[in-house]
Point group: C2
Chain length 365, copies 2
């Protein structure tokens, strides 16, 4: 049943390889979820999350689920029957937002964009006169595109701005308060260099006041969660559900690593690695997929060359280099590769390694 452990070089769209500190912390002795020592870990984690989110929101916390649970929490706590949610769609995660929002009973106004292009903030803001929510993805994991959330924040009017920062948090500039993000969710397994399992979440006081008071989800009810994470005020913590203790300890350690290096330095490292990878791919004669000027440094999308078998190249990399890169999504499943350089992998050694391996794989398959 068990086999020798295999190390993978994770250059796909996530999970990324983790910072060693984050892995080490997973193995720490388990603490009770109401132990004062663990509540300190939780408080440290929330404080670190405020920094990577760029927010002072008291209600900034790790949700006990993956990024998609964060997406669901964002919608079930803000919209329901009778509310309008405008959703900008320029990739899979925008599509998913529509589906998750629909299931709350809200009316979804979908604003489609070509995949590979950023969202158009003016078109999104003009799509409905008075939505309760406007939602957009900051860094589209399916296409490798960054959109201008700050511009959408300036145009949002009275709507609450919901933002998916799964593939930007911890690696790209993210200024939730300055940009006017009211509700944000993210993942741990990308630029933060922590394993998948939690969703860093933030909601402003003003959005919290306007929340759905009796949301359809008990597990993701932010009104109840505050009593445990200590954001409801008072020193007493009330049990809601048993927190995933090792994952939170790991996130604390990953955040300490990122903040110790310095957010600016970490972001510069992601930017430099992403740019070098993109330059290198173009030098190999490959075409990048995401629109120029809007390419994510953390996740590069590149077209599979004519006549090359996408899956065979990925299998070659896995077999010969224990290296994972990602396939494309939807109609681009076999015509685009997604190459992530996130967390500890965002460095020049990764660039050289990936370019050399990919070159060999394309030549050999």
């Amino acid at each position: 049943m068990s086999r020798p452990l295999t190390f993978r070089h994770l250059f796909g769209p996530g999970p990324s390889n983790c910072y060693p500190e984050a892995i080490e912390a997973l193995g720490h002795p388990v603490l009770g979820h109401l132990d004062p020592l663990f509540l300190e870990v939780l408080d440290n984690t929330c404080a670190g999350l405020r920094q990577v989110w760029g927010t002072n929101n008291a209600r900034t916390l790790p949700l006990s689920g993956t990024g998609s649970a964060g997406m669901e929490a964002a919608f079930v706590n803000t919209v329901g029957a009778g509310d309008v949610a405008v959703v900008a769609v320029n990739g899979l995660f925008g599509e998913r937002m529509c589906e998750v929002a629909r299931r709350t009973g809200a009316e979804v106004v979908r604003v489609d964009h070509e995949w590979g292009q950023p969202i158009d903030p003016e078109r999104v803001a003009a799509a409905h006169p008075n939505p309760k929510v406007i939602a957009a993805v900051h860094a589209e994991t399916s296409t490798g595109v960054r959109s201008d959330i700050a511009a959408l924040g300036r145009l949002k009017g009275d709507a609450l701005l919901v933002t998916d920062a799964v593939t930007s948090i911890g690696g790209l500039e993210l200024l939730a308060d300055d940009w006017g993000i009211d509700v944000g969710y993210a993942g741990t397994q990308k630029c933060l260099g922590v394993a998948p399992g939690l969703s860093p979440f933030t909601i402003s006081d003003a959005a919290f006041e306007r929340r759905v008071k009796d949301p359809q989800s008990w597990y993701l009810d932010l009104g109840l969660l505050g009593g445990y994470v200590g954001t409801a005020g008072g020193s007493q913590r009330t049990y809601h559900h048993t927190a995933p203790v090792p994952m939170i300890a790991s996130l604390q350690a990953g955040l300490a690593r990122v903040l110790g290096e310095g957010l600016d330095a970490v972001r510069a490292r992601h930017a430099t690695a992403g740019l070098a990878l993109q330059d290198g791919l173009e030098e190999m004669g490959l075409d990048l997929f995401a629109a120029e000027g809007f390419r994510l440094p953390s996740l590069t999308t590149v077209r599979v060359p004519e006549g090359v078998d996408s899956a065979a190249v990925r299998a070659y990399l896995l077999k010969n280099f224990s290296m994972e890169i990602g396939a494309g999504v939807g109609q681009f499943a076999s015509s685009v590769w997604r190459i992530g350089m996130m967390g500890p992998n965002a460095n020049n050694a990764s660039v050289v390694f990936v370019l050399a391996a990919l070159k060999e794989a394309i030549a050999k398959v």
Copy 2:
């Protein structure tokens, strides 16, 4: 920000200390969630879960959330507006079931019992002529009581039987198929000896056919999850959300440990330790809380002696022995202690240690 690591002896209602194999696996190199090696880990985990559930259900899987996410998955996938859910309540988790079921829009018929007593299967089954669901907790974590789920299974009629097995799975007899459990959810952090973060879940084919086809939760939609865990048939796995890879690797390792020791042996170890603890507490002159004949071996509830400060005793144990025991719940918060002997802690050494420590604490505070 970081402090020396502290080992806690976790004798509360959960999390328990983990099997060493489960902790060790948390630190394994992270694999991609679509890597063939990881899909093998996932398949092994599902196979192991079938054994501890006592089921052949194809749809037996670890949900990416804690036990309460499992509870929510059980209800959102089986009931909605127009459906009736009969819920047996004899403690906090029965109460929670009512609240979670209510949020689906279902009509909840609540059948109350005295806390500390098991449920009355006949009264529960007679509460409504044609419910879609009858739900009950096998092992009430709030009161330390075991209920007869098999009896309820014989009386359920056409209803789907939903069962909470959070504090029984991996430590007590649990025969989902034989007992007529249609939908079950559990936790990893109790008798399975794995950290909190996943919910072992099972649903029969017949219940799956009668499920809510468009449930209000996207994250917990069993119709979508099957495509990833391989229960939807076919060899192709479709991405739903990024799986919490290290937690699943850890659960695989914990299950391998439990099944390697043998389910009967593990259950006997829990039974022996629980009985010895309960005998020892009575020999100390303390009164057990749960009704005789229905006491959980995995979680013992005992009344705080007259004139003893419950919180002071718990603080003394934490400070002097780095030992956690649990407070009571609700109206019994300060009048009952909950003492768990689960997973690796279910053994005679734990019994001797806890009794000696508790005796000293009661004498000293």
